[in-house]
């Protein structure tokens, strides 16, 4: 397997411009001769489908939701970064680029990240013009706030609902194209297979979730914007239906899966309260602008927070990282919370929680200002916990939130499987080993509005303009049969255990052994346990109901089946990455003060895994990360 990142030559600042100039174009009259399949309708999928439709391509946009507006991008709360420097505080494209590289612990691809920072400014313009109601100052100009891992205020936001508003902006652009007939919207359709003909991705097989109908769709190129795979942990901040199936099916057909072990554990989530829990709820990181994180200095201190005097509190982030304090990046904040709890100083019933305290900010700014900034987040907290964060400190604990790993792509966002493009969280390229807050929305929209529409013509222009292959092609028939066989196998299995029970068990293995801190021993154990669980799954899972109608157990069964394969790969990746970097922390590799120890000599590379078949060990390939502009530095937020 050859992994050529296809990074353009020339100085970093000029690469993207040069690449656009040197790339091939598709004549406007010819664009309508190209069919493009877009899988996913989140920020990346909706923005790309709308833009490509507008350019004149024939686009089909698939979503397994009942409407494109339900994609999980909608749940992002905090904001979107852009190097506008509207605050006159020293921001620039280079600074956003550098912060992202450093935040990603020097494990992302330099040229991609620079491009991301460059186009970030266009995103804000585009969204404002669409009518996204960003927060504004009294003078009518856009407001900003600061976010973890940065010392400038470059985050644009729409209350605590930034993802919702950006997605609705992209959805409105997509809806306009659907109305104009340039994009065909295929809702309630789940992609279950990629079709590869002569080594190129040429189509997909989908199952209609409402009718069970299985259909073949062919195209000149297939684009995945299908999100991340954090639900492999079962409990996470992801929507319940988020899954890896589209990406995993592509992986099985030859697309390399890069850095699967890079998982982001978000520091500010509402702690788990019981074993019935179905999901974890994020409290936006923006809260750390005004909230102070602390635990009691004494172990097993059961006093209520207001009875613990100031000098008996440990504001551990402020103590350990004085220059970033409560705004230390996510991986560092999460790990510090875990350390405090492992040390017996956690709070709440389970001892797995730390305080996020607003009392100083309320004294300083007044409850009204705090309400204005975070009112909806305080409301969510109250709904879930029945406690008012205006009166008592919030209790928070880290939870799985985002996956930096994903399908390997080159500079054009094309995977190693020609014709298969991957955008947003589903690809691996921009966030390295740790994503900074407010950068996911930026990447999703950058890929969809401003990158893919420029890079996909390079591929299309190389193809002959004949129609997309016939769906009667033997490969389509074969792929459809595979989907049908798998569905039939699940329905006819008639085992004893529910799909959910397996998902819970897999999640526990992953959280225990491939979570916030990983060890060789634990990972080896997981690599033994997961295949056993997988075998048990296929022997004993029970999927009630029929295939020819809405069957949510069947949907979940397919997705959990794929998670059971992915989980093992994540552990293998974590085991072979003998260093600590970003969200990947190996206990064997740390400095005496507990900080992560990177190994740039041996691991300044992307690990991209090749699928070799069921029951076969996957093969690890590498892409060296070459930094032309940035020098490796120990990532310090002290």
């Amino acid at each position: 397997m050859k992994l050529d990142p296809k990074i353009p030559s020339g100085p970093l600042e000029k690469k993207w411009e040069k690449h656009i100039m040197e790339g091939k174009l598709v004549n406007p009259a010819n664009k309508r001769k190209y069919d493009i399949i877009m899988v996913g309708s989140g920020l990346a999928g909706a923005s790309a489908a709308a833009t490509l439709g507008e350019l004149g391509y024939k686009v089909k946009c698939f979503t397994f939701h009942d409407s494109p507006r339900r994609a999980h991008s909608i749940a992002a709360q905090g904001g979107i970064n852009a190097a506008k420097n509207y605050q006159n505080d020293g921001d620039s494209v280079y600074r956003l680029f550098y912060d992202t590289i450093k935040g990603g612990d020097f494990r992302s691809r330099e040229a991609n990240v620079y491009r991301l920072a460059q186009v970030s400014v266009n995103i804000i313009d585009q969204c404002a013009a669409q009518g996204v109601p960003f927060a504004r100052e009294y003078g009518g100009l856009l407001a900003n706030r600061s976010f973890g891992g940065a010392q400038v205020s470059r985050t644009f936001y729409a209350r605590g609902q930034t993802g919702q508003q950006l997605l609705l902006g992209a959805y409105s652009a997509l809806s306009r194209q659907v109305g104009l007939g340039t994009v065909e919207l295929c809702a309630n359709e789940e992609m279950l297979e990629v079709v590869v003909i002569d080594g190129h991705a040429k189509g997909i097989i989908t199952r209609n979730l409402n009718t069970g109908a299985i259909t073949r769709h062919s195209a000149h190129a297939v684009v995945l914007g299908t999100g991340g795979y954090g639900n492999v942990f079962n409990l996470s901040t992801y929507a319940r239906n988020s899954n890896v199936t589209a990406a995993w099916r592509a992986h099985r057909k030859g697309a390399a899966f890069a850095n699967p072990c890079y998982t982001q554990i978000h520091p500010t989530c509402i702690p788990v309260s019981g074993d019935y829990q179905s999901k974890l709820t994020l409290m936006s990181e923006s809260l750390r602008n005004d909230g102070r994180i602390w635990v009691p200095k004494k172990r097993d201190d059961k006093r209520p927070p207001h009875q613990i005097p100031e000098d008996e509190r440990d504001y551990y982030l402020e103590r350990k990282y004085p220059s970033f304090g409560n705004l230390a990046p996510r991986d560092i904040s999460s790990r510090s919370a875990k350390e405090a709890c492992d040390d017996g100083r956690g709070v709440g019933e389970t001892g797995l929680g730390v305080y996020l305290d607003f009392s100083d900010a309320i004294k300083r700014l007044g409850a009204d200002t705090i309400k204005e900034r975070y009112g909806n987040l305080f409301d969510i907290y109250k709904e879930i916990t029945d406690e008012s964060a205006y009166d008592v400190p919030m209790r928070i604990y880290p939870a799985v939130h985002y996956t930096m790993g994903g399908l390997w792509v080159d500079y054009n966002l094309m995977s190693n499987l020609p014709g298969l493009f991957v955008m947003g969280e589903a690809n691996f390229s921009d966030h390295g080993a740790n994503r900074l807050g407010a950068s996911a929305l930026m990447q999703g929209l950058a890929d969809g509005y401003f990158v893919l529409p420029y890079t996909i013509p390079h591929y299309l222009a190389e193809l002959d303009r004949d129609g997309a292959p016939s769906t009667d092609d033997a490969e389509f028939v074969k792929a459809e049969e595979e989907v049908k066989a798998r569905t039939e196998k699940l329905l006819s299995n008639k085992g004893k255990q529910s799909v959910k029970s397996f998902h819970v068990r897999l999640g526990k293995i992953m959280w225990d052994h491939c979570g916030m801190a990983r060890t060789k021993e634990g990972l080896e154990k997981a690599i033994k346990l997961i295949p056993e669980l997988r075998e048990e799954y296929w022997a004993d899972v029970r999927v009630p109901g029929e295939g020819k109608e809405l069957n949510q157990s069947l949907e979940n069964a397919g997705r959990v089946g794929d998670f059971l394969e992915l989980g093992e790969l994540m552990c293998r990746d974590a085991l072979t990455r003998e260093e600590s970097c970003g969200g990947h922390f190996r206990e064997e590799h740390q400095y005496p003060d507990g900080e992560a120890m990177r190994d740039d000599e041996k691991f300044a590379h992307v690990a991209a895994w090749e699928y070799k078949g069921e029951g076969q060990e996957p093969v690890r390939h590498t892409e060296e990360l070459e930094y032309e502009s940035v020098k490796f530095a120990t990532r310090s937020y002290k």
Binding site: S67, G131, Y138, S175, G179, E383
Partner: protein
């Protein structure tokens, strides 16, 4: 705590539905309503029955997928929350809870508690957008917008497209939904040039989808999980009258 459930079961849109009774036992009051439904579904699966189909996804009140009518109220007894943000502590031990789908002609039932709300997408496609080509936007700060207007637009934009407004309305009107999207875009300077077109197209699409008329009782606003104000309906009515009048006097170029 324990509760009894009366749940609407319906195989598909062609067959008739009926209420079935279930018991949910040993619940924690801090469970969400949907987590309680998960427990019931696990029990059904274990006993070889088919679980209850219900729509859900983000489980944090923002995606708008969940849509249960609980004891006759869209999203249940609490004010300003979606079904997924309803917790069992809102009910009493021993309660019987009736669970139904959102009912409206324009929302056909797919199965059990799941309905098809594609009619909302159709309205959006008719005019719920500002026409702006990707890459053609001016600098974001070149369009100043007063904070009050921006905040009001955000109030309207908070709509999650769940359809509770339609389910709450005796006429199954979609006026709150349409007025929220049209209101957001019409308030902003970027949305002014195509304001009349937008209003006329969206209202036409709403009528075509089979939604009923608004008779100003505002059950919609009371049931809205995002508490969108009925004043947006008044604004839509004003904008609609203006657009209708202006469209009957076709603008002529000044010579």
């Amino acid at each position: 705590m324990n509760v009894k459930l009366r749940v609407w079961r319906q195989k598909n849109n062609e067959t008739e539905g009926r209420f079935e009774n279930y018991e949910a036992k040993d619940l924690n009051p801090n469970m969400s309503f949907l987590e309680m439904m998960d427990v019931v579904n696990e029990d059904l699966t274990d006993s070889g029955d088919e679980p209850i189909a219900f729509a859900h996804d983000c489980r944090e009140g923002i995606c708008g997928t969940c849509s249960c009518m609980i004891d006759g109220k869209p999203h249940g007894p609490e004010h300003g929350v979606a079904t997924c943000q309803t917790y069992m502590r809102s009910f009493k031990d021993g309660d019987t809870i009736t669970v139904e789908p959102f009912r409206a002609k324009a929302f056909p039932i797919v199965k059990d508690l799941v309905t098809d709300r594609a009619s909302f997408d159709k309205i959006q496609q008719a005019g719920g957008f500002i026409t702006i080509r990707t890459g053609a936007a001016p600098d974001a700060n070149s369009i100043p917008i007063g904070k009050e207007i921006a905040d009001l637009a955000m109030d309207a934009a908070a709509c999650i497209g769940c359809g509770a407004c339609v389910a709450a309305c005796k006429n199954a009107s979609a006026m709150l939904f349409v007025s929220a999207k049209a209101g957001q875009l019409n308030l902003l300077p970027q949305g002014k040039p195509e304001k009349d077109r937008r209003v006329l197209s969206m209202v036409a699409a709403m009528d075509e989808a089979g939604f009923g008329n608004c008779t100003n009782q505002y059950e919609c606003s009371a049931a809205c999980p995002k508490l969108i104000s009925e004043e947006f309906i008044s604004k839509l009515n004003r904008d609609f009258v203006g657009a209708t009048v202006r469209s009957s006097f076709k603008a002529k170029p000044l010579v």
